[in-house]
Symmetry: C2
Subunit: 220 residues, 2 copies
């Protein structure tokens, strides 16, 4: 039997402790029980290590995360998570039923396309001094849409009682909301789901406060 | 045999002729040969018809598209496209091989999360008078990343020689780039793929210049 080195090697995750998109992938690895090697990329230090020529080869968007897995390099967190889900055993991150799957993808994309990109580092750097009200505005707009959707779809978790990619997207987005001092009291369903999810081991070990590159003053 | 009315009914697409995310769904319906009912939502008229209370019930994000299909209402174009792909016959929009699929999703998400949301209507309204250079900046940043990726993955189309969701995302994004006068000469691979795809019937019939709500002066 012939196995290539790429298939035997652990996946490599290029990650920044506080990046919500990196955290999504860390949660997915943890839920699936996949061991991986983490390489920190500091988005602030040296003017942003993601902007180096070396890193650009891994992710031409010069953002985290990037993942080396099974001999290919992938970026875009939801593409990575779905690849992991389709190729690895462990709990399904997308449900089997097409309608339920569609709801999971709708919630995931509402966050991953509708909220996060508009309040990420490169956009806020461009916005300049108005960055906090800008981030609050777009997170609130997204959460005002998400709250009634989740009220309908959620059980114990975002869609029914099984963990899914939607939960993987929700928790890091709430973390960003809290960084920008969004009033979470307006979103009781989001808050309840977030609290439930944060109790789970996979969300704890992957948390920004627990990473090898977490600065000492932000460690929990 | 019991069939509900929802299953017999044509899907309903809430669409705006010039919305790139609406166009994605129109392309997917056309590629799959699915008949649908189109309901125009004018994003400009009446202060934006997507902001009405009635429309908010369909899509709480108050954006187009929204789709009523098989008794459920879905928003987020990539969730809709993947639902169509998983439940309808016709050409696959996501390839069967997991690695190839991951590349299709990576390219789709690079556009759908990494470019489009930062240059969509609601963000540009917030940006104000600097909106053209803002849109150019973020489209260029995305295309500078996309060009080398597509150079590697493309054959006749974005990923190899089969049409996929990546192509469905690419063409409407190039349309936006041209609206904002981005110099496409910098992106020969993107330009070549766009030209090839625009020759296909599914891209022609779904084009912004061919919609029931296209203003007379923009009809081709």
């Amino acid at each position: 039997m012939h196995l290539s080195i790429a298939c035997l090697a652990k996946p490599v995750l290029y990650s920044y402790f506080r990046s919500s998109c990196s955290w999504r992938v860390r949660i997915a690895f943890a839920l699936k029980g996949i061991e991986f090697k983490l390489v920190p990329v500091n988005l602030i230090k040296d003017g942003g290590q993601q902007l180096s020529e070396q890193y650009r080869k891994l992710n031409p968007m010069q953002q985290v995360p990037a993942v080396e897995i099974d001999g290919i390099t992938l970026c875009q967190s939801l593409a990575v998570i779905q690849y992991i889900d389709e190729t690895r055993p462990g709990p399904r991150l997308l449900p089997a039923d097409p309608k339920t799957r569609a709801k999971v993808r709708m919630i995931s994309d509402l966050i991953a396309s509708g909220i996060q990109p508009i309040q990420n580092l490169s956009v806020l750097q461009k916005v300049g001094e108005e960055k906090v009200p800008w981030a609050q505005h777009f997170i609130n707009r997204g959460f005002q849409a998400l709250e009634p959707i989740l009220k309908e779809t959620s059980g114990k978790y975002c869609v029914g009682d099984e963990i899914s990619m939607a939960d993987i997207c929700l928790v890091p987005q709430v973390y960003n909301a809290e960084r920008f001092k969004v009033d979470m009291g307006q979103y009781p369903t989001i808050r309840r789901l977030n609290e439930t999810l944060l109790e789970l081991e996979a969300f704890k070990v992957s948390h920004p406060s627990q990473q090898p590159d977490t600065p000492a003053n932000l460690q929990a």
